[in-house]
């Protein structure tokens, strides 16, 4: 199956750490509204969809929660209500860090979703947030490594046309990612744009953010090899917010909307 550039562009959202369940997740609507708003009447045939994996995480967490169960079950309702969502978030990260069977299930589910769109022939653009950027990065690199996709000079063989990451912890040593798979020799270029806010603690790992200029997050993933085939760019955004509000502010940032419209149209 080959991608048909004339078909509707698909923007697939991969969420990050979440509380709640899959039913509670609607960031695909946020991105759809953001792009439409920033188009200001310009025509662009696109749709958004979402890869939801919070239920997979929650099912895996049950086993982990049993370890903590004796302790947390003894909490009163008040602190328990605060602690439980926090525990949900922490355990999401633990699952990703562990890279065990649950993380592999999540990753494979994302790959299956991507290949479903590919088989339908729609050009696909992947937009991932927070922890979801880890799975998105891994899924694309796994597909490149498989060698049956991503012939460098034929974008019709690319299951993903470009990657956008937002609020990504990929720069943190704890996630142990530092490279991308080479596409081989050729002229076409795979674009990866990574948005980050200086006041986003998930990006820097620092409660106080990272004010220094020249902070290199994922641009360092690309080597100097001419066979790489990746264009990787870190783009800082002024969120106007701090801390966790900065971490969730990407979904309606106008500059990101403008860039997404341009990317999906190319």
């Amino acid at each position: 199956m080959a991608v048909d550039p004339k078909k509707t562009r698909k923007v697939l959202i991969v969420h990050g750490v979440q509380t709640g369940t899959d039913q509670d997740l609607h960031q695909d609507e946020d991105i759809r509204n953001l792009i439409r708003n920033r188009l200001n009447g310009m025509p662009l045939d696109f749709e958004t969809d979402m890869y939801r994996y919070e239920d997979i995480n929650d099912a895996a967490q049950e086993r982990l929660r049993q370890v903590f169960g004796l302790f947390f079950n003894k909490l009163t309702a008040g602190p328990g209500q605060i602690v439980d969502p926090g525990l949900d978030l922490v355990l999401d990260v633990v699952i990703a860090l562990n890279n065990g069977s649950t993380a592999q299930i999540i990753r494979q589910g994302l790959i299956d979703k991507i290949l479903g769109v590919y088989e339908a022939g729609n050009p696909l653009y992947l937009v991932a947030h927070s922890l979801g950027t880890i799975y998105a990065h891994d899924a694309i690199n796994q597909l490149i490594q498989a060698q049956q996709y991503f012939r460098r000079d034929d974008r019709k063989t690319w299951p993903v046309q470009a990657l956008v990451t937002m609020g990504s912890p990929l720069g943190l040593a704890m996630f142990r990612r530092s490279s991308v798979q080479k596409l081989g020799s050729g002229r076409k270029i795979f674009r990866w744009v990574n948005y980050w806010s200086r006041t986003d603690p998930v990006v820097s790992g620092s409660f106080y953010g990272q004010p220094e200029q020249g902070y290199n997050i994922v641009e360092r993933f690309r080597t100097d090899s001419p066979d790489s085939g990746w264009f990787i760019q870190d783009r800082v955004v002024d969120m106007g917010k701090a801390w966790l509000m900065a971490h969730t502010g990407y979904w309606d940032h106008p500059a990101i909307g403008d860039d997404l419209a341009a990317l999906v149209a190319s």
Partner: protein, 167 residues
């Protein structure tokens, strides 16, 4: 506990901020001789203390095209980087802002930028009309105004409405 709460309140107070959007518009012709308005904008957040460092790129949005030119800070320059097959790291600098090396040092008034090259376009996948400023020795000059806004989401202007669509 009281010290901890006081610290949290103090930090929240210091994090109080003002949002500003800088904008400027010029009109240029494309290769077919059609006029395109071009909107240039960036936003800043000023905080009483803590981060006085700017964050955010300068963008140019042309009329009747979905192209976006993004100027980012790189090594004390504000540049427009584009994919460039065969160039080091498949990247080339096709433009630069001349007024300053840091976006936080840009201000109201004339903003001068120079365009050196145009990015390659993948015609097979491109939707709509590509538009880019023509490379030339003479800089483009945008008259920049500054406006305080309530928030970035609603205060940032959109790309100029395509006048051709209205005919």
């Amino acid at each position: 506990m009281r010290r901890r709460i006081s610290l949290i309140v103090l930090v929240l107070f210091l994090a109080g901020c003002s949002h500003y959007v800088y904008t400027g518009t010029i009109t240029e012709k494309d290769a077919a001789g059609r006029d395109h308005k071009l909107l240039l904008y960036w936003n800043t957040t000023e905080r009483a203390l803590w981060f006085d460092e700017y964050a955010g790129g300068v963008r140019i949005l042309p009329e009747c095209s979905l192209t976006t030119l993004v100027f980012e800070e790189k090594e004390n320059r504000i540049v427009w980087e584009v994919p460039a097959p065969g160039a080091p790291r498949d990247k080339a600098v096709c433009g630069a802002i001349n007024n300053a090396g840091r976006i936080k040092d840009l201000d109201e008034g004339p903003l001068s930028l120079t365009i050196y090259c145009k990015p390659a376009v993948d015609d097979e996948f491109a939707v709509g009309r590509e538009f880019s400023l023509e490379p030339r020795n003479e800089p483009y000059v945008f008259p920049i105004g500054k406006q305080k806004v309530k928030d970035i989401e609603t205060g940032t202007p959109k790309r100029p409405e395509c006048r051709e669509a209205r005919r």
